[in-house]
Symmetry: C2
Subunit: 164 residues, 2 copies
Protein backbone atom coordinates (compact mmCIF):
# COMPACT_ATOMS: atom_id res chain seq x y z
CA UNK A 1 0.00 0.00 0.00
CA UNK A 2 1.47 3.39 -1.02
CA UNK A 3 1.33 5.00 2.42
CA UNK A 4 4.14 6.10 4.71
CA UNK A 5 2.26 4.72 7.72
CA UNK A 6 1.67 1.28 6.20
CA UNK A 7 5.23 1.06 4.88
CA UNK A 8 6.69 2.13 8.22
CA UNK A 9 4.64 -0.58 9.97
CA UNK A 10 5.75 -3.15 7.43
CA UNK A 11 9.42 -2.31 7.86
CA UNK A 12 9.14 -2.33 11.65
CA UNK A 13 7.62 -5.79 11.33
CA UNK A 14 6.30 -6.43 14.82
CA UNK A 15 6.21 -4.98 18.31
CA UNK A 16 9.46 -6.66 19.36
CA UNK A 17 11.31 -4.36 17.00
CA UNK A 18 10.18 -1.28 18.88
CA UNK A 19 11.00 -2.80 22.26
CA UNK A 20 14.46 -3.79 21.02
CA UNK A 21 14.94 -0.24 19.73
CA UNK A 22 13.84 1.12 23.11
CA UNK A 23 16.42 -1.04 24.87
CA UNK A 24 19.15 -0.22 22.35
CA UNK A 25 18.47 3.50 22.77
CA UNK A 26 19.20 3.12 26.46
CA UNK A 27 22.40 1.19 26.06
CA UNK A 28 21.69 -2.53 25.65
CA UNK A 29 23.70 -4.13 22.88
CA UNK A 30 24.09 -7.91 23.27
CA UNK A 31 21.78 -10.83 22.55
CA UNK A 32 21.69 -11.80 26.22
CA UNK A 33 20.91 -8.27 27.38
CA UNK A 34 17.94 -8.04 25.01
CA UNK A 35 16.75 -11.52 25.93
CA UNK A 36 16.88 -10.76 29.62
CA UNK A 37 15.22 -7.38 29.33
CA UNK A 38 12.42 -8.55 27.06
CA UNK A 39 11.83 -12.12 28.21
CA UNK A 40 11.69 -13.01 24.53
CA UNK A 41 12.28 -16.58 23.27
CA UNK A 42 15.79 -17.11 21.84
CA UNK A 43 14.56 -18.04 18.37
CA UNK A 44 12.24 -15.08 18.12
CA UNK A 45 14.96 -12.70 19.24
CA UNK A 46 17.47 -14.19 16.85
CA UNK A 47 15.11 -13.86 13.87
CA UNK A 48 14.09 -10.38 14.89
CA UNK A 49 17.67 -9.12 15.25
CA UNK A 50 18.67 -10.50 11.82
CA UNK A 51 15.60 -8.95 10.28
CA UNK A 52 16.38 -5.58 11.85
CA UNK A 53 19.94 -5.75 10.52
CA UNK A 54 18.68 -6.65 7.05
CA UNK A 55 16.20 -3.77 7.09
CA UNK A 56 18.86 -1.26 8.09
CA UNK A 57 17.60 -0.57 11.63
CA UNK A 58 20.50 -2.23 13.45
CA UNK A 59 24.18 -2.80 12.72
CA UNK A 60 25.77 -6.02 13.96
CA UNK A 61 29.52 -6.08 14.73
CA UNK A 62 31.93 -8.41 16.50
CA UNK A 63 32.56 -7.44 20.08
CA UNK A 64 36.23 -6.31 20.14
CA UNK A 65 36.49 -7.68 23.71
CA UNK A 66 35.05 -11.09 22.85
CA UNK A 67 35.13 -12.28 19.24
CA UNK A 68 32.37 -14.87 19.79
CA UNK A 69 29.94 -12.19 20.81
CA UNK A 70 28.03 -9.75 18.59
CA UNK A 71 27.19 -6.17 19.47
CA UNK A 72 24.06 -4.61 18.06
CA UNK A 73 23.71 -0.87 17.67
CA UNK A 74 21.19 1.41 15.99
CA UNK A 75 21.70 2.96 12.57
CA UNK A 76 20.51 6.54 12.00
CA UNK A 77 17.31 5.06 10.63
CA UNK A 78 16.89 3.02 13.80
CA UNK A 79 17.67 5.97 16.07
CA UNK A 80 15.04 8.03 14.28
CA UNK A 81 12.39 5.63 15.57
CA UNK A 82 12.73 7.32 18.94
CA UNK A 83 10.03 9.88 18.11
CA UNK A 84 7.59 7.02 17.46
CA UNK A 85 8.54 5.50 20.82
CA UNK A 86 8.00 8.85 22.52
CA UNK A 87 4.54 9.16 20.92
CA UNK A 88 3.68 5.62 22.07
CA UNK A 89 4.95 6.32 25.58
CA UNK A 90 2.97 9.55 25.90
CA UNK A 91 -0.19 7.81 24.68
CA UNK A 92 0.35 4.80 26.96
CA UNK A 93 1.19 6.93 29.98
CA UNK A 94 -1.87 9.11 29.40
CA UNK A 95 -4.50 6.50 28.51
CA UNK A 96 -3.32 3.38 30.29
CA UNK A 97 -1.54 4.58 33.42
CA UNK A 98 -2.70 8.14 34.09
CA UNK A 99 -0.52 10.67 35.92
CA UNK A 100 -0.47 8.88 39.31
CA UNK A 101 0.70 5.52 37.98
CA UNK A 102 3.18 6.36 35.20
CA UNK A 103 6.16 4.00 35.53
CA UNK A 104 8.62 5.97 33.41
CA UNK A 105 9.11 8.99 31.20
CA UNK A 106 11.54 9.98 28.52
CA UNK A 107 13.15 13.05 30.03
CA UNK A 108 15.33 15.98 29.19
CA UNK A 109 18.76 15.05 30.51
CA UNK A 110 19.53 18.65 31.48
CA UNK A 111 16.62 19.13 33.88
CA UNK A 112 15.63 15.47 34.40
CA UNK A 113 12.00 16.41 33.77
CA UNK A 114 9.61 14.67 31.35
CA UNK A 115 9.61 15.71 27.70
CA UNK A 116 6.64 17.92 26.82
CA UNK A 117 3.66 16.32 25.11
CA UNK A 118 4.42 16.14 21.37
CA UNK A 119 2.67 19.00 19.62
CA UNK A 120 2.21 18.75 15.84
CA UNK A 121 2.69 22.13 14.19
CA UNK A 122 1.98 23.84 10.89
CA UNK A 123 4.82 25.33 8.82
CA UNK A 124 4.15 28.72 10.46
CA UNK A 125 4.35 27.26 13.96
CA UNK A 126 0.63 27.08 14.81
CA UNK A 127 -0.19 24.09 17.05
CA UNK A 128 -2.48 21.71 15.17
CA UNK A 129 -5.24 19.56 16.57
CA UNK A 130 -6.69 16.66 14.66
CA UNK A 131 -9.51 18.93 13.45
CA UNK A 132 -6.97 21.09 11.65
CA UNK A 133 -5.53 18.16 9.75
CA UNK A 134 -6.22 16.41 6.49
CA UNK A 135 -4.27 14.13 4.16
CA UNK A 136 -2.82 15.42 0.87
CA UNK A 137 -0.98 13.81 -2.02
CA UNK A 138 2.80 13.80 -2.29
CA UNK A 139 4.93 13.66 -5.45
CA UNK A 140 4.69 9.85 -5.43
CA UNK A 141 0.90 9.59 -5.22
CA UNK A 142 -0.75 7.16 -7.64
CA UNK A 143 -3.69 8.46 -9.73
CA UNK A 144 -6.05 6.46 -7.48
CA UNK A 145 -4.63 8.05 -4.35
CA UNK A 146 -4.86 11.53 -5.91
CA UNK A 147 -8.52 10.93 -6.71
CA UNK A 148 -9.14 9.79 -3.14
CA UNK A 149 -7.53 12.90 -1.65
CA UNK A 150 -9.43 15.18 -4.04
CA UNK A 151 -12.64 13.58 -2.85
CA UNK A 152 -11.59 13.70 0.81
CA UNK A 153 -10.67 17.36 0.66
CA UNK A 154 -13.77 18.33 -1.34
CA UNK A 155 -15.97 16.61 1.26
CA UNK A 156 -14.12 18.22 4.11
CA UNK A 157 -13.77 21.68 2.60
CA UNK A 158 -14.98 24.67 4.64
CA UNK A 159 -18.63 25.81 4.70
CA UNK A 160 -18.70 27.27 1.20
CA UNK A 161 -18.70 23.74 -0.11
CA UNK A 162 -21.48 22.28 2.03
CA UNK A 163 -23.86 22.18 -0.96
CA UNK A 164 -22.10 19.00 -2.16
CA UNK B 1 5.98 -4.98 31.58
CA UNK B 2 5.61 -1.65 33.44
CA UNK B 3 6.36 0.64 30.51
CA UNK B 4 4.11 3.07 28.65
CA UNK B 5 5.60 1.96 25.33
CA UNK B 6 5.04 -1.76 25.95
CA UNK B 7 1.53 -1.19 27.31
CA UNK B 8 0.60 1.06 24.39
CA UNK B 9 1.80 -1.64 21.96
CA UNK B 10 -0.15 -4.28 23.85
CA UNK B 11 -3.37 -2.28 23.77
CA UNK B 12 -2.95 -1.45 20.08
CA UNK B 13 -2.57 -5.18 19.49
CA UNK B 14 -1.40 -5.33 15.90
CA UNK B 15 -0.73 -3.19 12.86
CA UNK B 16 -4.29 -3.47 11.56
CA UNK B 17 -5.44 -1.35 14.48
CA UNK B 18 -3.33 1.59 13.36
CA UNK B 19 -4.45 1.27 9.74
CA UNK B 20 -8.10 1.12 10.84
CA UNK B 21 -7.51 4.22 12.99
CA UNK B 22 -5.91 5.95 9.99
CA UNK B 23 -8.96 5.19 7.86
CA UNK B 24 -11.40 6.16 10.62
CA UNK B 25 -9.60 9.49 11.08
CA UNK B 26 -10.27 10.26 7.45
CA UNK B 27 -13.92 9.36 7.48
CA UNK B 28 -14.39 5.63 6.94
CA UNK B 29 -16.92 4.09 9.32
CA UNK B 30 -18.44 0.85 8.04
CA UNK B 31 -17.18 -2.73 7.93
CA UNK B 32 -17.26 -2.76 4.14
CA UNK B 33 -15.37 0.52 3.84
CA UNK B 34 -12.56 -0.75 6.08
CA UNK B 35 -12.48 -4.10 4.29
CA UNK B 36 -12.23 -2.45 0.90
CA UNK B 37 -9.61 0.08 1.95
CA UNK B 38 -7.39 -2.42 3.76
CA UNK B 39 -7.90 -5.61 1.74
CA UNK B 40 -8.18 -7.37 5.09
CA UNK B 41 -9.89 -10.78 5.47
CA UNK B 42 -13.46 -10.52 6.87
CA UNK B 43 -12.71 -12.62 9.95
CA UNK B 44 -9.59 -10.67 10.82
CA UNK B 45 -11.39 -7.36 10.42
CA UNK B 46 -14.33 -8.55 12.48
CA UNK B 47 -12.11 -9.69 15.36
CA UNK B 48 -10.02 -6.55 15.17
CA UNK B 49 -13.02 -4.19 15.26
CA UNK B 50 -14.53 -6.01 18.28
CA UNK B 51 -11.20 -5.90 20.05
CA UNK B 52 -10.83 -2.17 19.37
CA UNK B 53 -14.32 -1.55 20.76
CA UNK B 54 -13.54 -3.63 23.85
CA UNK B 55 -10.30 -1.73 24.42
CA UNK B 56 -12.01 1.65 24.15
CA UNK B 57 -10.46 2.75 20.86
CA UNK B 58 -13.66 2.56 18.80
CA UNK B 59 -17.37 3.00 19.49
CA UNK B 60 -19.82 0.82 17.58
CA UNK B 61 -23.36 2.10 16.96
CA UNK B 62 -26.31 1.14 14.77
CA UNK B 63 -26.48 3.11 11.56
CA UNK B 64 -29.62 5.29 11.93
CA UNK B 65 -30.15 4.96 8.15
CA UNK B 66 -29.87 1.18 8.11
CA UNK B 67 -30.46 -0.79 11.32
CA UNK B 68 -28.60 -3.86 10.05
CA UNK B 69 -25.42 -1.88 9.60
CA UNK B 70 -22.94 -0.78 12.26
CA UNK B 71 -21.00 2.47 12.24
CA UNK B 72 -17.59 2.60 13.89
CA UNK B 73 -16.12 5.83 15.17
CA UNK B 74 -13.09 6.75 17.25
CA UNK B 75 -13.24 7.50 20.97
CA UNK B 76 -11.03 10.28 22.35
CA UNK B 77 -8.49 7.60 23.19
CA UNK B 78 -8.60 6.36 19.60
CA UNK B 79 -8.36 9.86 18.16
CA UNK B 80 -5.28 10.53 20.28
CA UNK B 81 -3.44 7.80 18.35
CA UNK B 82 -3.11 10.29 15.49
CA UNK B 83 0.20 11.61 16.83
CA UNK B 84 1.62 8.07 16.67
CA UNK B 85 0.38 7.79 13.08
CA UNK B 86 1.99 11.11 12.23
CA UNK B 87 5.32 9.95 13.72
CA UNK B 88 5.09 6.71 11.71
CA UNK B 89 4.23 8.60 8.54
CA UNK B 90 7.12 11.03 8.93
CA UNK B 91 9.55 8.17 9.55
CA UNK B 92 8.20 6.12 6.63
CA UNK B 93 8.17 9.08 4.26
CA UNK B 94 11.72 10.00 5.23
CA UNK B 95 13.37 6.58 5.37
CA UNK B 96 11.37 4.51 2.92
CA UNK B 97 10.17 6.92 0.24
CA UNK B 98 12.40 9.99 0.42
CA UNK B 99 11.18 13.45 -0.67
CA UNK B 100 10.71 12.63 -4.38
CA UNK B 101 8.51 9.58 -3.85
CA UNK B 102 6.31 10.43 -0.86
CA UNK B 103 2.77 9.26 -1.65
CA UNK B 104 0.95 11.32 1.00
CA UNK B 105 1.32 13.70 3.88
CA UNK B 106 -0.79 14.70 6.82
CA UNK B 107 -1.31 18.38 6.17
CA UNK B 108 -2.52 21.56 7.78
CA UNK B 109 -6.03 22.06 6.40
CA UNK B 110 -5.61 25.85 6.37
CA UNK B 111 -2.61 25.99 4.04
CA UNK B 112 -2.76 22.45 2.61
CA UNK B 113 0.96 22.04 3.32
CA UNK B 114 2.60 19.12 5.14
CA UNK B 115 2.77 19.19 8.93
CA UNK B 116 6.24 20.10 10.23
CA UNK B 117 8.52 17.30 11.38
CA UNK B 118 7.59 16.44 14.99
CA UNK B 119 10.05 18.11 17.31
CA UNK B 120 10.28 16.81 20.89
CA UNK B 121 10.79 19.68 23.34
CA UNK B 122 11.86 20.23 26.92
CA UNK B 123 9.54 21.96 29.38
CA UNK B 124 11.29 25.26 28.60
CA UNK B 125 10.77 24.84 24.86
CA UNK B 126 14.29 23.73 23.85
CA UNK B 127 14.23 21.28 20.92
CA UNK B 128 15.62 17.93 22.06
CA UNK B 129 17.63 15.44 20.07
CA UNK B 130 18.05 11.86 21.18
CA UNK B 131 21.39 12.79 22.79
CA UNK B 132 19.56 15.13 25.15
CA UNK B 133 17.22 12.42 26.34
CA UNK B 134 17.21 9.79 29.06
CA UNK B 135 14.56 7.73 30.83
CA UNK B 136 13.44 8.58 34.37
CA UNK B 137 11.09 6.95 36.86
CA UNK B 138 7.48 8.03 37.25
CA UNK B 139 5.31 7.78 40.37
CA UNK B 140 4.34 4.22 39.43
CA UNK B 141 7.88 2.86 39.01
CA UNK B 142 8.60 -0.47 40.70
CA UNK B 143 11.72 -0.70 42.92
CA UNK B 144 13.44 -2.72 40.18
CA UNK B 145 12.71 -0.04 37.59
CA UNK B 146 13.94 2.70 39.92
CA UNK B 147 17.20 0.83 40.43
CA UNK B 148 17.58 0.47 36.65
CA UNK B 149 17.06 4.18 36.04
CA UNK B 150 19.46 5.11 38.82
CA UNK B 151 22.07 2.94 37.15
CA UNK B 152 21.27 4.28 33.68
CA UNK B 153 21.51 7.88 34.75
CA UNK B 154 24.67 7.35 36.78
CA UNK B 155 26.33 5.73 33.74
CA UNK B 156 25.17 8.47 31.45
CA UNK B 157 25.80 11.39 33.75
CA UNK B 158 27.92 14.28 32.42
CA UNK B 159 31.72 14.25 32.44
CA UNK B 160 32.15 14.68 36.18
CA UNK B 161 31.07 11.07 36.52
CA UNK B 162 33.32 9.47 33.92
CA UNK B 163 35.46 7.89 36.64
CA UNK B 164 32.82 5.14 37.02
Amino acid sequence: MACGIAQALERIGDWWTLLIVRDALFGLSTFDEFRQSLGIPRNTLSTRLSDMVEKGILICEDDPQDGRRKLYSLTDQGRDLWVILLALQQWGNGWIYGPERVPSYMADRETMTPIEQLSPRAADGRALTLEDVTMIEGPGATPLLKAFFDMLNAENAPDTDQSN
